[in-house]
């Protein structure tokens, strides 16, 4: 506990030195319209279940003008190269059944609305499912194909494609009924301090969003923009990869992508963005 306070003290001091102009700046006022047509809601009243925040903001609002510009056009946004690749894979048969995704789903457009409501309770499976889990279920059980690595390139490209056809639609994940137990578990994880640094998601993303942590402009940690092209590693990143990185940065043994803990956390964090537009695939730092 003491160590965490000392660290936060150091961080605050460095942030203060780093630039008075930047410190304490909340989200900016910019508006996001993609390709001149998809109007994105990047600010909304916080959903009822959130006690400590009144207004929710997309991570886009915390990025520099140059980074924001990269997402406003499907050519400027490098993610779209991999979305196109996934669209080709969508049409390509794979597995023992000789089927492609297109055999049942016709075209990616028919999946509009899907990303907005995932993670979601699956009655037949008796569990909350993420898009990745659903894709692998289709691959294994309907296509007779090998499952993809949960946060590997093939999977993340496909999730980016599925997200792209829901852009502009409001995130709307269910947190009640059969999903409630998973959601409560995710909420507990969100508020648990992990690692040597004893930091919880809330410490940064709820209590300090808008502040600078060293030179990073802290967002609310919303995931409506995932999968996201990060300038830092110049590739598409999946949500669980990001969760893993965050927890690893608290110097904890982190959960694995695809684990029940991250599925629960994804459901909870997605619900904190209910009302924002699906932006994936987005561009972030």
């Amino acid at each position: 506990m003491k160590n965490a306070f000392r660290l936060l003290g150091t961080v605050a001091a460095v942030a203060g030195l780093a630039g008075a102009a930047m410190a304490g700046a909340g989200p900016d006022e910019d508006e996001l319209v993609v390709n001149g047509e998809i109007e994105m809601v990047t600010e909304a009243a916080a959903p009822a279940h959130m006690e400590n925040i009144d207004t929710i903001y997309s991570g886009w609002r915390f990025r520099s003008d140059e980074t924001q510009a990269l997402q406003m056009d499907d050519f400027e946004n490098p993610s779209m190269i991999w979305v196109e690749e996934a669209a080709a894979v969508f049409d390509t048969p794979d597995g023992t059944e000789g089927k492609a995704c297109a055999s049942c789903h016709e075209s990616p457009d028919t999946l509009a609305g899907v990303k907005a409501v995932y993670p979601k309770w699956n009655e037949a499976a008796g569990e909350v499912r993420t898009v990745e889990m659903q894709v692998n279920d289709c691959r294994e059980n309907r296509m007779g194909a090998e499952p993809w690595k949960y946060d590997g390139g093939d999977m993340t490209n496909m999730v980016a494609l599925i997200a792209s056809v829901s852009r502009g639609l409001p995130v709307n994940v269910a947190i009640d009924g059969p999903a409630k137990e998973t959601w409560e578990k995710g909420k507990e994880i969100y508020y648990t301090r992990y690692g040597q640094l004893e930091l919880s998601c809330a410490n940064c993303h709820e209590q300090n969003y808008g502040m600078m942590i060293r030179a990073d402009h802290l967002s609310q940690g919303q995931i409506n923009g995932f999968p996201t092209y990060r300038l830092k590693n110049t590739k598409l990143n999946a949500v669980h990869s990001r969760f893993k990185g965050c927890i690893r940065d608290t110097r904890a043994h982190t959960f694995a992508p695809g684990s029940p803990e991250f599925v629960a956390l994804e459901l909870y964090v997605a619900s904190r963005g209910n009302g924002l537009s699906v932006e994936g695939p987005s561009v972030r730092n």
Binding site: E66, T67, L70, D216, K232
Partner: protein
């Protein structure tokens, strides 16, 4: 003269501080050499050449820059704080009306991006822009 440990530490610290304040002479002169190679030693003054770069780069991996060089045959771009300063050399063809180019570059740390244009009349122009490259926070 016998230096006490305290004195030699103080001299050392101020020498390092002085170096820090004056920037990194080693890299800057490597860039000067490369610029001289491009211009053949000729002076490069101000002109219509313009270089647009962000004041603060959100991530040094991908920094968008824009160059506009009306009347130029070619533009050489350098990053004077990178381990190897050359960034690109752009030559404009007969079907290029605006002699402008935008791209995204890697900057290892806070430094100057320098554009040197070779004009049609054989003269040279130069434009410089300092970009602050920040260390991320908890970026993971």
């Amino acid at each position: 003269m016998q230096l006490t440990r305290r004195q030699s530490l103080a001299i050392g610290a101020s020498a390092i501080a002085a170096l820090g304040l004056s920037g990194l002479p080693a890299f800057a002169s490597a860039t000067d050499d490369l610029i001289n190679e491009f211009t053949g030693g000729a002076e490069a003054g101000a002109g219509e050449l313009s270089l647009t770069a962000p004041e603060i780069a959100e991530n040094g991996n991908t920094v968008p820059i824009e160059i506009s060089a009306p009347g130029a045959v070619a533009v050489a771009i350098f990053a004077d704080g990178n381990p190897t300063p050359p960034v690109a050399t752009v030559t404009f063809g007969p079907l290029n009306p605006t002699h402008a180019v935008s791209t995204r570059i890697r900057l290892a740390k806070t430094q100057n991006v320098v554009a040197v244009a070779q004009m049609e009349d054989g003269s040279f122009q130069m434009a410089k822009s300092e970009v602050k490259v920040t260390i991320g926070g908890c970026g993971g």
